[in-house]
């Protein structure tokens, strides 16, 4: 086994592999901010002759098409050459800005297997800012060096003339090792071991070996697996029980039998990869197999609007009084048709030949913008007899206070109360303070605790508001003593089971939530429920409205 390597050594190795066997490895993502360090990293790729792609590249540039300006001036058809007309090495800059459609198109090019190589530069600063998963998934390598670049980097020993990787032989045991290793780290995609095998082969070829050695497997695992891992394998020696993943994660079966995987190479490879796992995974912040789109934090999700935000490429459409016309794009769309349209329109005294622009409705291009959607806080408040009336008043006060904050933060607020046998939407999503105060004043209390019904109503509202472009977060205020089942029967066990089912459902729909325990002593079942919801749990036994507001704001901004 090789000596422990630093992240910079691995970066150097990955770059070297890319230069030698780039097309075979399909690509890499480089996670670095712009700076002299990155410039030196990119300098390593110089022999590949990278051509740049930016996230807003148009189809014409990517796939070729009519070069309008040249065609018009030359009066004969001049076409842009497709970016991918021959084997090409592309450098995707600002990959974190790359939209799903461009990612899909590039992925398609990679899938075609014409020997293209794409290196994505990911400058994402926030945790949820990263290159599109559809693309990263198809790359063999991830280059993510930590800290400052060491002096004298890259410190590469001069290797013998690399061999053709196709001549490197692999054994079934090698394949088994890499596949099992991927399974141990909860990597579901089968592209991962397949790509790792290619890395191993390229590594062997680089070192002039004709067969894959344990060193090559080690390098392949270190380069291809850590950024894909979704699970930390548990040491069989440590008796400590691993935190059980939420039962409703899609790969429950896979997680269940992880102990049955046996690695022919022993634990050394596992340890090697484990040492390189990203820290948030080690901290157990990412539950196995789940990729939560967003939690309650920060601003809402991005969506395409047509009036505000960051500009997107314009697209054809009809002027309906709401959208704004993109004049330049419209003129550009109209330009090539002018000779034709002039022929079609008979010249007359009022329309002298060659002086008018002929623009048809189909030329109209509309401006589009991407904006952050508004956030919606859905309060699901337990108004049962068990939740003391005073608590209800605190909740009401908190809603009003939050609304005041929300007004500044452009959040919307909705209120659901559940008591007796059903949940009721007391306040549809609104930003109106007056309306809220009026509705809140009429919130009655007493009766059983239909927790599941309240959650169902909240999930329903969350789904509806999401369809309207809002980003919902559910705030549950309850004492967790569910005693009314969804069908209205007074059965404590069934009520609890229904509540857990609803929690699973809300997790599946990726609804961000927050659970506030307002009972006098923290309730264990409620804590379990919030774990199921993937939601922060806050116990506030003696909360007043201000403290409640503070806790909610803090949890939401976290």
């Amino acid at each position: 086994m090789s000596t422990p390597s630093t992240s910079w050594d691995r970066a150097a190795l990955a770059l070297r592999l890319l230069c030698v066997q780039g097309a075979d490895l399909t690509g890499a993502v480089i996670r670095m901010r712009a700076g002299p360090d990155r410039d030196r990293v990119l300098a390593q790729l110089k022999p590949l002759g990278m051509r740049k792609i930016h996230p807003t590249i148009t189809d014409d540039q990517l796939f070729g098409g009519l070069d309008l300006a040249a065609t018009l001036s030359a009066s004969q058809v001049i076409e842009n050459k497709s970016f991918f007309h021959s084997k090409c090495n592309a450098l995707l800059t600002m990959a974190e800005r790359c939209g799903p459609d461009l990612a899909a198109k590039l992925a398609q090019q990679l899938d075609a297997g014409d020997g293209h190589l794409i290196v994505a530069l990911d400058e994402g600063a926030e945790p949820d800012e990263h290159a599109p998963a559809a693309l990263v998934e198809r790359f063999a390598l991830c280059i993510d060096p930590e800290g400052r670049m060491p002096a004298g980097w890259p410190d590469m020993a001069q290797n013998p003339q690399p061999l053709d990787p196709a001549t490197v032989t692999t054994t079934v045991a090698d394949i088994e090792t890499l596949t099992t290793l991927a399974a141990v780290f909860g990597i579901d995609s089968l592209r991962a071991p397949s790509l790792a095998l290619r890395v191993a082969r390229a590594h062997a070829a680089l070192h002039g070996r004709t067969a894959v050695s344990p060193d090559d497997l080690n390098a392949a695992a270190e380069l291809a697996f850590p950024h894909r891992a979704t699970r930390v394998p548990q040491d069989p020696d440590t008796a400590e029980e691993p935190p059980a993943p939420p039962e409703d994660t899609p790969d429950e079966d896979g997680a269940g039998d992880s102990d049955s995987f046996e690695l022919p190479e022993g634990d050394m490879l596992v340890e090697a990869v484990k040492a390189l796992l990203p820290p948030d995974l080690l901290a157990g912040l990412v539950p196995a197999g789940t990729t939560r789109a967003q939690t309650g934090g920060g601003a809402g999700q991005k969506r395409k609007g047509n009036r505000r935000g960051r500009p997107l490429p314009s697209r054809p459409g009809r002027l309906d009084g709401r959208a704004r016309i993109d004049l330049v794009a419209t003129l550009r769309a109209a330009a090539p048709w002018q000779p034709l349209r002039r022929q079609a329109v008979p010249t007359s005294a009022s329309v002298p030949a060659g002086t008018h622009l002929h623009i048809r409705p189909s030329d109209i291009r509309l401006k589009r913008y991407q904006e952050q959607s508004d956030r919606l806080l859905i309060f699901a408040v337990d108004a049962s007899g068990s939740a003391a009336m005073s608590r209800l008043n605190e909740a009401k006060g908190a809603v009003e206070l939050l609304l005041g904050q929300a007004y500044a933060a452009r959040d919307h607020v909705a209120l659901i109360a559940f008591r007796g046998t059903e949940a009721e939407l007391l306040l549809p999503p609104t930003r109106s303070l007056v309306q809220t105060k009026r509705r809140l004043a009429s919130l009655p209390g007493g009766g059983g605790t239909p927790l599941a019904a309240g959650m169902q109503q909240a999930a329903l509202l969350a789904g509806q508001s999401r369809a309207k472009g809002l980003t919902p977060t559910v705030v549950m205020l309850t004492d967790g003593r569910a005693n009314i089942a969804l069908d209205g029967s007074a059965n404590r066990a069934a009520a609890q089971a229904d509540a857990e089912k609803m929690a699973g459902l809300m997790t599946a729909q990726n609804i961000a939530a927050l659970v506030i325990d307002m009972s006098n002593r923290p309730q264990e079942p409620l804590r379990a429920l919030s774990a199921r919801l993937n939601a922060p749990y806050i116990a506030l036994p003696r909360a007043n409205a201000e403290r409640l507001t503070g806790a909610v704001s803090a949890a939401l901004e976290a």
Partner: protein, 334 residues
């Protein structure tokens, strides 16, 4: 373009493979939707399909792959009218494709250079009598989805723009794939797909190793690999051809018609498309398996694919609609 990975070499994923083969037996089934995580072989299967499908006979210069000169659209300027054998078209519809590219538009080149008004066919024309594949179908822009819904329903593409009035047949099998984590599909589009399957990565290590082994062999020892699986693909192709011949002769007992109806009522699927697809697919399966009469077993085998995407969502059902269909199938068919 490299030869795609052969269809018969795909390990496991029987439901997906079966669904695709059945649409080849009877294109009237109306398409397949494949939902699953990344790296489960969705794209591989669709790209492999192109090599598997039996070739079609078409007029050489016809833009919509018509089988007879008389069926070519009148706007097409036919060059060679020879009937040639060509592979069944499998056309990729990339995300972000413009409306012009999908439905066709004025031929800008001829308009510019010769001042002529001519129609340049789009992807829908090329996909006629073949397959239209949309990767990441759940991310498709709404205005393209609307277009597709209309054409998939009517089997005809009508273009009324830039002074053109053009229509041409556009009958294709819609194949969509996507990752459910990234977004839901509109129910209207969901309903247009005849079958839907969910794919998962195999949990069994041996099976996963086999996948990687074959992939590796495909890359390293291409000729030997293709020699073996090329022959396997040919076998499947011949079975498809035989099944197409058998399909009209498959007998459908009346009892099974009421079974179909009972199933769909029990599941509460909207509309009658469920029954029709169920019956059609079951018959295709019977033909593919070489059976002369439809049996309950065929219905049982096909019900999850044909019906699971037509149910109303049950918020309390975590097992997924596939399991729900299986449960109700067991109840209704005893």
């Amino acid at each position: 373009m490299k030869t795609p990975f052969p269809f018969s070499a795909i390990v496991g994923q029987t439901e997906m493979k079966q669904a695709m083969i059945l649409t080849a037996v009877d294109p009237g089934i109306g398409g397949v939707l494949v939902f699953g995580d990344r790296g489960t072989g969705k794209s591989t299967a669709v790209r492999a399909l192109a090599a598997l499908l039996p070739p079609i006979k078409a007029v050489e210069s016809c833009p919509v792959n018509a089988s007879k000169t008389s069926e070519c659209p009148d706007w097409a300027e036919l060059g060679s009218k020879k009937i040639v054998t060509r592979p069944t078209p499998v056309i990729d519809l990339p995300l972000g494709a413009t409306e012009d590219r999908v439905v066709g538009a004025l031929d800008i080149e001829r308009a510019l250079t010769r001042g002529e008004k001519a129609f340049e066919p789009g992807l829908l024309a090329r996909a006629n009598r073949g397959y239209l594949y949309i990767d990441e179908v759940n991310l498709l822009e709404d205005h393209i989805v609307d277009l597709l819904l209309d054409v998939a329903q009517s089997g005809e593409n009508v273009v009324e723009r830039e002074g053109l009035s053009i229509r041409h047949p556009a009958r294709f099998v819609l194949v969509g794939s996507g990752n459910p984590e990234e977004g839901e599909l509109r129910p209207q589009l969901l309903d247009r797909f005849g079958l839907s399957v969910e794919v998962k990565s195999p949990n069994d290590v041996a099976e996963r190793v086999e996948v990687i082994k074959r992939r590796d062999a495909f890359e390293v020892d291409f000729d030997a690999f293709m020699a073996h699986y090329g022959a396997e693909d040919a076998k499947v192709r011949n079975t498809i051809l035989a099944a197409r011949k058998r399909l009209p002769k498959v007998k459908t007992p009346d009892a099974l018609l009421s079974d179909c109806a009972a199933l769909c009522i029990a599941l509460g699927s909207d509309g009658l498309r469920g029954e029709l697809t169920l019956l059609r697919t079951a018959r295709a399966l019977a033909a593919y398996q070489g059976d002369k009469t439809l049996t309950r077993q065929h219905l049982r085998d096909i019900a999850p694919s044909a019906l699971s995407h037509r149910l109303r969502r049950d918020p309390l059902d975590e097992a997924g609609s596939g399991a729900r269909v299986a449960r109700i199938v067991d109840e209704v068919l005893e």
